[in-house]
């Protein structure tokens, strides 16, 4: 399977026998992946600070199990899923305070891009997620399926439905 992070899989042997190597490899992984994963999660959830907090939480858990997680083809996928679950849990708790609204994307960007992202925000979260993982993080469908523990067919259908809905939404926007 391709490794979207571009980093080489880590050697289990090295991790077990050279703890300092493990620490440095985790730190390298963290520096390469943290903002990237947080960016993906932020685009999916619409909340940058929650995304960063969630990815940090995922990174803590990855650190605790780095001897195992570090050997995965795509440890970023593992961290992403842990972070997403953690963030969703947080959002669910917020729902009782803020009626579950996903926070606005409070960033400055070109109008066309803002329009596209507004359409993206209107998609159901599962569809939005696979779009972000594919088009922002550049993961393969196999990577996405493994990271989210869903079938490849589900990834395909979610992508297909998402693109279809985006086009319909944006077409309507153009007409107005």
């Amino acid at each position: 399977m391709s490794d979207p992070s571009g980093s080489q899989p880590l050697s289990t042997t090295n991790l077990e026998t050279h703890p300092l190597d493990a620490v440095s490899s985790f730190e390298r992984f963290y520096r390469e992946e943290r903002d990237r994963l947080a960016g993906g999660l932020a685009a999916s959830l619409g909340d940058a600070s929650l995304a960063a907090e969630a990815v940090d939480e995922g990174m803590v858990r990855a650190y605790q199990r780095w001897a195992k997680v570090g050997t995965y083809d795509n440890p970023g996928g593992w961290v992403y899923r842990v972070a997403r679950n953690w963030a969703i849990s947080r959002l669910r708790r917020r729902r009782f305070v803020s009626d579950g609204a996903v926070p606005e994307l409070a960033v400055s960007m070109p109008p066309a891009h803002r329009e596209l992202l507004a359409g993206l925000r209107n998609l159901p979260e599962p569809q939005r997620q696979v779009v972000v993982l594919k088009y922002l993080l550049g993961w393969s469908q196999d990577d996405i399926a493994r990271a989210l523990k869903i079938r490849q067919g589900t990834v395909k259908s979610r992508l297909s439905r998402a693109l279809k809905q985006l086009r319909i939404d944006l077409k309507e926007e153009d007409v107005r």
Partner: protein, 480 residues
């Protein structure tokens, strides 16, 4: 028009403009080590030994090799005070009710232990409870944790929380995520009388049950003290997704009659699935139309027969969906278009039962296009598309279906995972209708195409053109 490149650029633009707080791996590593120390201290502190002893003490051995810990569900096994002196001593937890019908193997016991440990870990993180409407999370206490290891290999923790005065007790279910070794909330279908939503916090009496064949859940909630209204639901674990409980039945009284009622949940009428008499299904006629069995409630109200209601009224949708899927194992179901020319007729797309796993981790099945006439509740299969292989060109997918008129359908079919399309017109028997003006005909070489070839009649960016040229506008569709 939305191209994949534009989407990619927009997402990167978003990411480039977002600033995240600076990360600090050393600080995170410290957090990780602190948690690891706490976990190790607990595991080696005698908890495991204590549990195993208690478990064996009350076990009843079955002749089939399984073991039931009969009385343990109501007997506190141990307190976990040693876990509560860590990061958040205010969240005192008591773990009770360990029971298992699975073989009492070391693995099962340790799974349960791991689950308890994970619960304890996340008690500290405050992740497991709903603090209620505006409640303070620090007021929340975990009242009870029940761990159930099912014969199907699913280990579930049932966490009951008390969120403080004047807040209803919430219950949440969690499974161990093997990969992350963390707890994942279990979604449960919640039926409100009209629609099913997926919830992770439940209210009322929630009971997990297991037998040799399945893992089930019952939820019983009275809407108010008078007891004159409420809902009783039963659920089954979804063995395909292996990640949640799917609604099996719901009995209830939605509108509170405002009088104390002697009725119990067993007297409440069945609301889900709508009561349908399958014997009403007539054999398929010569023209391919089949009579559908419809629930008396839907039929009597004529709910589903008003075209203007089809897409907007949840009750109508529930009637249509429950009727059309009453005897069908369909995994996805979409109403694509509605036409009303004196009779209300739907065209429906559904992915029918998957027949097996052909590799690549994905089972393949087939999809069907149906028309359903609501005035007479009759249904007809128009076309069936088989998904033979996901990497071959004949893996096709109907992306847009609509009525041209009451006897002709127009379909946009995609292949190559949605990168190419063609347009067909069909009569209601599935036969191709001559359409000489169609600029997007079915490619003659389709049967020879493979995923390795990039040959497409037109690409994904042309979809909007196709929609505009050949199909009614999205506005027209959404106004239906």
């Amino acid at each position: 028009m939305t191209s994949e490149e534009e989407l990619t650029a927009a997402l990167h633009s978003f990411r480039d403009t977002v600033e995240f707080p600076a990360g600090d791996p050393a600080r995170l590593a410290k957090r990780g080590r602190r948690r690891q120390r706490a976990k190790s201290a607990t595991i080696t502190g005698g908890l495991a030994v204590g549990l195993v002893v208690v478990g064996i003490g009350v076990a009843l051995n079955r002749t089939d090799g399984t073991t039931v810990i009969a009385a343990a569900s109501s007997v506190p096994i141990t307190t976990m005070a040693e876990l509560d002196d860590r990061e958040n001593p205010g969240l005192a937890s008591t773990v009770v009710g360990e029971r298992s019908a699975a073989p009492l193997s070391e693995t099962t016991t340790l799974n349960a232990l791991d689950m308890r440990q994970l619960v304890a870990d996340q008690v500290v993180a405050g992740d497991l409870c709903n603090s209620g409407d505006g409640g303070d999370p620090s007021d929340v206490t975990i009242e009870q944790v029940q761990v159930l290891a099912s014969p199907q290999g699913v280990t579930i923790a049932n966490v009951t929380c008390a969120p403080g005065a004047y807040q209803p007790t919430s219950v949440a279910l969690f499974v161990v995520d093997e990969e992350s070794e963390g707890l994942l909330p279990v979604p449960v279908d919640w039926f409100d009388g009209e629609q099913i939503s997926s919830e992770t916090f439940l209210y009322g009496l929630v009971d997990l049950n297991e037998d040799a064949d399945q893992l089930s859940l019952s939820v019983y909630v009275r809407y108010r003290g008078a007891g004159d209204c409420g809902m009783a639901m039963t659920h089954l674990w979804d063995p395909d997704e292996n990640s949640g409980f799917v609604l099996e039945t719901a009995h209830g009284v939605i509108e509170c009659p405002d009088e104390i009622s002697p009725t119990t949940a067993t007297d409440w009428p069945q609301l889900y699935p709508p009561v349908v008499d399958p014997s009403n299904d007539a054999p398929t006629g010569a023209d391919g139309w089949t009579n559908l069995a419809v629930s008396p409630a839907c039929d009597a109200e004529g709910l589903a027969r008003r075209a203007d209601d089809v897409r907007s009224n949840p009750k109508v949708m529930a009637c249509i969906e429950s009727t059309l899927l009453a005897n069908v194992d369909a995994s996805q179901f979409w109403i694509e278009d509605v036409i009303d020319d004196g009779k209300t007729t739907l065209v429906v797309w559904r992915a029918a039962k998957f027949d097996g796993d052909f590799g690549l981790g994905t089972p393949w099945g087939h999809e069907e296009i149906h028309v359903t006439e609501l005035t007479t509740w009759t249904d007809k299969l128009v076309r069936r598309l088989d998904w033979e292989d996901p990497v071959e060109a004949d893996w096709m997918y109907a992306y847009r279906i609509e009525f041209v008129d009451s006897t002709t359908l127009q379909t946009m079919i995609g292949w190559h995972q949605g990168e190419c399309y063609w347009v067909d017109r069909l009569d209601l028997d599935g036969n191709l209708v001559d359409d000489p003006g169609n600029p997007y005909p079915r490619p003659a070489t389709l049967d020879e195409l493979s995923a390795d070839e990039s040959l497409c009649v037109f690409g994904i960016d042309d979809e909007a053109t196709i929609l505009a040229d050949r199909f009614r506008s999205p506005e027209a569709l959404s106004s239906l």
